[in-house]
């Protein structure tokens, strides 16, 4: 060891600074509860964390404490979050804090083995983690995972098989299924959506269809008939069968599979030393089982959450998992967890904290007999000492007037510097598809204020999607769209719009016009060749499914009258001949139909076409704009288009062949089936996860979207959400459950509405504005009523804006981590490539890569043959010379 090396070790191998010292460096002063939670190590931990209580920080520091001070290897920590964004934030934050330790000690930490992510991603990882979860370290490859859209398309494509298996006739199956759900429509789309919800819920609740079918006569559904239930269970079984056949699975079944693996693997309860689950109030039954199973050996299960912020019942979440965690801990682990309440709010002014505390007290959270509490008791208090007015309602008035009052006030907030940017004022709504939203937007626009509402519209309606798909429509032709109903009409209108827009683009750019003409000609050429070749087949009475006989058929096809030169080249390819011969030798001869399809295929697909279009000025300008620090939205939306196109090429049509061009089949698959599904599912436009709200615009968000966020000023734009009783899916599932019943069906929605508004109220930091509408047809949800009647509640008309603290723009406390290879080196290689593929997630066109791959392969092969030829020639010449000499 050199002197320097020895010295460096002596200098850097210093003792780890105490955690208190690290807190000091990072300017973190944990309160007593936070400190207790961070330093807790052994045994289950039940962290009830109110809004703005520093939960993420506690999770970060607790994990650091385990790794650094208790030497828990990162790969023995399982940290589950609700979103991938949260997982990334936690990993980046942890990396930053551990980097701080490394900075002191030189000791490095490898987080790559740590299980951190959403439950789904962790289950997926678990299923491939042969080393840790499979005794023999062998298992078949897990099935491919379908996301929500994939699941929809699977149900659509396997429709006939599923409904037939369940004893329905495909023609009226949709109507029959919709009827179960009180839906009079005959739409297959709606039937698929109903089934999707039901199937997911069955899987999440670990419903065994055979068990329920056996008990169905003894179970009681007030509004579903026995035959309805039996039919749904049959459909569920058929659905699962099709998944197995196609080697795919969905999110919910993926969790079931992971749970099964854990059950089968003897040491599964000790693989992880610590299991930490964030947003535990939004977990479902199968997830709860997984977590308890993983912690069954060590009992180190830490759950963090807030039952008041449980929003995802519609996705199967069961808030009781959180509320009853202490009892469940007893049941599954045989111990009582340590309970710590993080109840100091660092986000909001005290008036806001008191207000939402009182809001929750307006609901009676006890059962009728008073024995059961459906809410964890808590006493949230504000850390900020400021006691000035911070919750204010508009003057009770008809919506137009109240909206105007709010808009004028927002204008003042901006003009008087109470916010640095309009994006610090958020308008929150139970739903963005309501009249109140439109009214508010208009009022703001009248005050020259721009609104940003990413989920208010459909992705397909953003201008980039209209431009790209409009040109696709001109190239592939417009398919006829049958059917009736609002969705069909809307889609037809959309097709009209994109066609008109594409005509404009074609008119403005002659090169683009020529490009469209050329592509159309190529399609026409392929179509003609296809017909010509089919004529040859018919003339010779060949069977399309019979093996392609090279010696007998090639010449006839090649010499077909009027076959285009491209077609001739494809039929006459010597390279292809070798493939045909090889396949025949291997006992898998290619059928004639394949040869004809191949000979009439195009050398570009839907994704290639996209990249061809990007070369035209109209689209190129979008990239230039993004690269020069302009609006990145258009490029981001283009990136999303590539992802949809990739899905289409992967799952539907990877190669454009002429048989698909007949009768506008391809156009129908792409527009009427694929895009129409996207259109109906209301996929929304791209949002930047790191900077979600563009500067200069006021964000309009659903309350669900706002979860986990905070804003200096929050306007709750609608205080009403109708209580329609328990969701249908809850009524369907409840009798099938084997677990204890949770909240009573008749009160479930009342609770959910209170929680939803609680989330909205608790997003505000400095000021919370309530839109108090009054007049005909205007309502407020019950918990607001008494609060609005309170004469002490300030009104906007009397509010002294001078009392409001000015909000500063804040940067995220958690730094973004860049990768050396994936970010730095790629950026260094080409900033534009970095922007396109890394930042905006464009999907590269694989056919181009394959083309170049095969080009290289072919070139090498040709070179090889040439070398052999020359060597043979040389050998021949030499032997002739020798003969002559002899």
């Amino acid at each position: 060891m050199s002197t320097f090396e020895a010295h460096l070790r002596a200098i850097t191998n210093n003792e780890t600074p105490s955690i208190e010292r690290l807190w000091q460096i990072t300017k973190f002063s944990p309160n007593d509860a936070q400190r207790e939670a961070i330093l807790h190590v052994n045994g289950p931990l039940y962290l009830t964390a109110g809004p703005g209580s520093g939960k993420t920080r506690v999770l970060l520091w607790r994990t650091l404490n385990l790794i650094v001070y208790h030497h828990v290897p990162p790969e023995r920590i399982f940290l589950s979050t609700f979103t991938e964004k949260a997982a990334k934030q936690l990993t980046d934050g942890l990396r930053g804090l551990l980097g701080l330790v490394t900075n002191y000690t030189g000791q490095s930490f490898d987080l790559s083995g740590m299980y951190v992510g959403t439950v789904h991603s962790l289950c997926r990882r678990l299923l491939t983690d042969r080393r840790r979860f499979f005794a023999d370290r062998h298992r078949p490859r897990p099935p491919a995972l379908l996301d929500d859209l994939g699941q929809y398309f699977h149900l659509n494509s396997a429709w006939e098989q599923i409904v037939t298996y369940a004893g329905l006739h495909p023609a009226d199956a949709a109507e029959r299924i919709n009827a179960i759900f009180d839906d009079k429509s005959a739409s297959r789309h709606r039937a698929i959506e109903h089934l999707r919800s039901a199937f997911n819920r069955f899987s999440e609740e670990l419903i065994d269809p055979d068990r329920v079918q056996a008990q169905v006569a003894t179970l009681a559904w007030p509004e579903f008939s026995q035959s309805d239930i039996e039919l749904l269970l049959e459909l569920y079984k058929a659905y699962r069968k099709t998944l197995e056949e196609r080697r795919v699975t969905d999110f919910a079944l993926l969790q079931q599979e992971a749970y099964r693996v854990l059950e089968d693997f003897p040491g599964s309860g000790e693989v992880f030393q610590h299991v930490i689950v964030d947003e535990y109030q939004d977990t479902n039954t199968i997830q709860e089982r997984i977590f308890f199973k993983l912690a069954s050996g060590t009992k180190n299960l830490c759950v963090v959450g807030d039952d008041d912020q449980a929003l995802y019942r519609f996705r199967g979440a069961t808030v009781e998992n959180f509320v009853q965690f202490p009892q469940r801990c007893q049941t599954y682990l045989g111990v009582t967890p340590r309970q710590i309440a993080l109840d100091i709010n660092y986000r909001s002014r005290s008036h806001i904290v008191n207000f939402y505390g009182r809001f929750m007290e307006q609901t009676d959270w006890r059962s009728k007999d008073g024995h059961t509490a459906y809410r964890v008791s808590k006493a949230i208090r504000a850390h900020r000492a400021d006691a000035g007015p911070a919750v204010v309602a508009t003057t009770p008035a008809p919506p137009e007037e109240a909206c105007e009052e709010i808009a004028a006030f927002v204008r003042r907030l901006i003009d008087e510097g109470k916010v640095e940017n309009p994006n610090q004022i958020a308008f929150l709504y139970p739903s963005l598809k309501s009249k109140q939203v439109e009214r508010m937007k208009k009022a703001l626009e009248a005050h020259d204020l721009q609104v940003y509402a990413p989920r208010a519209g459909r992705f397909l309606q953003v201008s980039e999607a209209v431009d790209v798909f409009g040109i696709y429509l001109l190239i592939f032709g417009r398919p006829s769209l049958r059917g009736m109903g609002r969705d069909v009409d809307d889609f037809r209108d959309w097709l009209n719009d994109i066609e008109a827009r594409a005509e404009e683009l074609r008119h403005d750019d002659p090169q683009l016009a020529q490009f469209i003409t050329d592509r159309r000609a190529e399609l026409q050429r392929a179509r003609n060749d296809y017909r010509i070749l089919l004529n040859v087949v018919a003339r010779h009475h060949w069977n399309l499914d019979a093996p392609y006989d090279l010696s007998r058929m090639k010449r006839a096809l090649y010499n077909a009258p009027r076959l285009s030169p491209v077609g001739q080249k494809l039929v006459g390819s010597a390279y292809f001949d070798r493939i045909v011969q090889k396949r025949a030798q291997e006992g898998h001869p290619l059928p004639l139909s394949y040869v004809i399809r191949r000979a009439t295929s195009l050398d570009w697909n839907f994704l290639d076409l996209f990249y061809h279009l990007m070369g035209f000025e109209h689209f190129k300008a979008m990239f230039d704009q993004a690269e020069h620090h302009g609006d990145e939205g258009p490029v981001a939306n283009l990136g999303l288009i590539t992802q949809y196109l990739q899905r289409f090429t992967d799952e539907r049509v990877s190669i454009i062949t002429a048989n698909l061009l007949e009768d506008d089949k391809l156009s129908a698959i792409f527009f009427n089936s694929f895009l129409f599904a996207l259109f109906r599912l209301g996929e929304s436009e791209w949002e930047n996860p790191e900077d979600p709200f563009p500067r200069g615009r006021i964000p309009f968000l659903t309350i669900h979207q706002a979860k986990g966020l905070e804003f200096p000023v929050v306007v709750l734009g609608n205080l009403y959400k109708m209580d329609r009783g328990a969701p249908q899916m809850e009524r369907l599932i409840r009798p099938m459950l084997t677990r204890p019943n949770g909240e009573p069906l008749e009160r479930m929605t009342e609770f959910d509405i209170a929680r939803m508004f609680y989330v909205a109220l608790s997003r505000a930091q400095n000021l919370l504005i309530l839109a108090h509408f009054k007049g005909k047809g205007q309502h407020v949800s019950p918990p607001f009523k008494a609060l609005l009647r309170d004469p002490a509640l300030p009104r906007l008309g009397n509010f002294d804006i001078a009392t409001l603290p000015a909000a500063k723009l804040q940067e995220s406390e958690i730094p973004k981590v860049y990768s050396f290879t994936a970010d730095y080196l790629l950026y260094k290689k080409c900033p534009r490539q970095y922007m396109i593929f890394r930042k905006f997630g464009f999907v590269p066109s694989r056919s181009q890569t394959m083309f170049f791959g095969s080009l290289v392969h072919r070139t090498l092969e040709d070179l090889h043959h040439e070398l052999i030829r020359r060597r043979n020639l040389a050998a021949k010449a030499q032997s002739q010379g020798e003969k002559r000499d002899a």
Partner: protein, 463 residues
């Protein structure tokens, strides 16, 4: 030059000073003289109580470097044939362990040294007068080749298997930060201003193991040629100047070398270590350009530390001798204990440099990267020390460097430096601090017996 075996008489200089010609000459000179009582009053009025903080967190570790060099004759009969040795000591010790040894006010540094064995020295052996490496035509080329090889050698590396961790690689890091056309901006590339053989340039070189050649004449060139020591190497005479310059460069390069790798491996460990360098924070001679690169490098590191809310790197240049030290001895009896002065240009030119004409750009524009302070401790010991300038460059737009450089508040570490010097002062040597004394002990090549051993070693090796 005396003849061999002829020694100067010790009384000779009395005659010399009394010589009327010398007296006449001196009457026309300005030089440092002891101040009168009255002058001293004025001189010391600029000293003030040093800044002190109620709580000062001292570094945990101390790293001190000091160097010595020696030229050994090959043979008594051929004293003009010489080999040069340079020894740079790097001493590392823990302040906590040091505190445990405290017995009374002061500590014997050698007790500290006995605590651990983290003290070691790096030795460079270089051809000096009339000695060539085989395959080289001149002493100069031999010196260049040997220097480069030794800067690159495993003994200078933080990771022996990685040559990018050698002392030479740190030279690359600094040289790449040079201003103007000689800067490369790439840590593995540097530029020589010209080829030592043909004089053409500039020439870009890479941090690699293979020999590199001048693109103009094809002669070998070495990255360490950028230090321009070769310009001072003579084939036939003593190369003491080149050796002394190299020693000084190494005394400054080595702390930066440490700093670079500590920053890489455990960045915040920099906040727990103090670097002591012997002498002012300045680099003289042809390699003076290094001082700018060091300023830039320190500024970069300090900026990163500041972003993390940390104080800057604590690097202290402590002067054992030199003009300021002489000056302080002259005025020491007038200085009140516990006083501090940041030497400004006016003062320096007027009193220390005996009315020398001030430089247009300020004192040390081409050489210094740190500010000199005179500090008298509460115990009455005086020190001359320097802290790095808190600037990236002396010509930063909008800053009045010449005046601002003496403002105490700009030196965040000043209270810590003062506290540390007080803690580490030793009564073993006059106005010395323990680390430097230790480093010196480890590197000092005394004439007897160290020098003698080297002489023997040289003879045996060359025999």
């Amino acid at each position: 030059m005396p003849y061999q075996n002829e020694f100067a008489r010790k009384t000779t200089h009395f005659d010399f000073v009394r010589n009327p010609e010398v007296q006449e000459f001196l009457a026309n000179c300005e030089y440092l003289t002891p101040p009168s009582e009255k002058e001293a009053q004025a001189l010391t009025s600029v000293f003030q109580k040093p800044p002190r903080l109620p709580e000062v967190e001292l570094p945990h570790l101390i790293l001190a470097t000091d160097g010595s060099y020696y030229e050994a004759a090959l043979n008594d009969r051929i004293p003009t044939t010489r080999v040069g040795y340079i020894k740079i000591g790097a001493v590392l010790f823990s302040l906590k362990e040091f505190a445990d040894l405290r017995d009374g006010r002061f500590v014997d540094p050698f007790k500290v040294a006995a605590l651990q064995d983290n003290n070691t020295a790096l030795t460079f052996v270089l051809p000096s007068a009339n000695v060539r490496l085989r395959a080289y035509n001149s002493v100069r080329d031999s010196f260049r080749a040997a220097l480069d090889e030794q800067l690159l050698s495993e003994k200078t590396r933080f990771a022996p298997q990685n040559f990018h961790t050698s002392l030479r690689s740190t030279l690359f890091h600094l040289a790449s930060r040079r201003a103007g056309e000689l800067g490369t901006g790439h840590p593995f590339k540097l530029k020589l201003h010209k080829c030592p053989t043909c004089g053409k340039g500039p020439i870009e070189l890479e941090d690699k193991l293979e020999q590199q050649f001048c693109p103009y004449c094809g002669a070998p060139v070495y990255p360490s040629d950028c230090l321009r020591l070769w310009e001072e190497v003579s084939d036939y005479q003593s190369n003491g100047t080149a050796l002394s310059r190299l020693m000084m460069i190494l005394e400054h390069l080595i702390p930066i070398h440490y700093l670079r790798f500590i920053a890489q491996k455990a960045f915040l460990a920099l906040t727990r270590i103090a670097f002591f360098v012997d002498g002012p924070l300045a680099i003289f001679g042809n390699a003076a350009w290094l001082h700018r690169s060091i300023m830039i490098y320190l500024h970069e590191v300090n900026e990163k530390l500041e972003k993390k809310g940390m104080p800057p790197v604590l690097m202290i240049g402590l002067q054992k001798r030199g003009q300021i030290v002489d000056y302080v001895r002259l005025i020491d009896r007038f200085l009140p204990p516990d006083s501090l002065f940041a030497i400004d240009d006016d003062y320096r030119y007027k009193y220390i440099l005996a009315n020398r004409k001030p430089s247009k750009h300020g004192f040390g524009f081409e050489t210094y990267y740190g500010q000199d302070f005179i500090f008298k401790t509460r115990e009455g010991r005086s020190f001359v020390f320097a802290l790095p300038y808190p600037y990236k460059s002396k010509e930063e737009p909008g800053s009045d460097f010449i005046h601002e450089k003496t403002e105490w508040h700009r030196y965040t570490n000043l209270p810590v430096a003062i506290r540390l010097i007080e803690r580490l002062q030793t009564e073993l040597y006059q106005d010395a601090v323990v680390p430097i004394a230790l480093a010196h002990r480890y590197t000092a090549i005394s004439l007897q017996p160290g020098g003698r051993v080297l002489d023997l070693l040289t003879r045996r090796a060359l025999a």
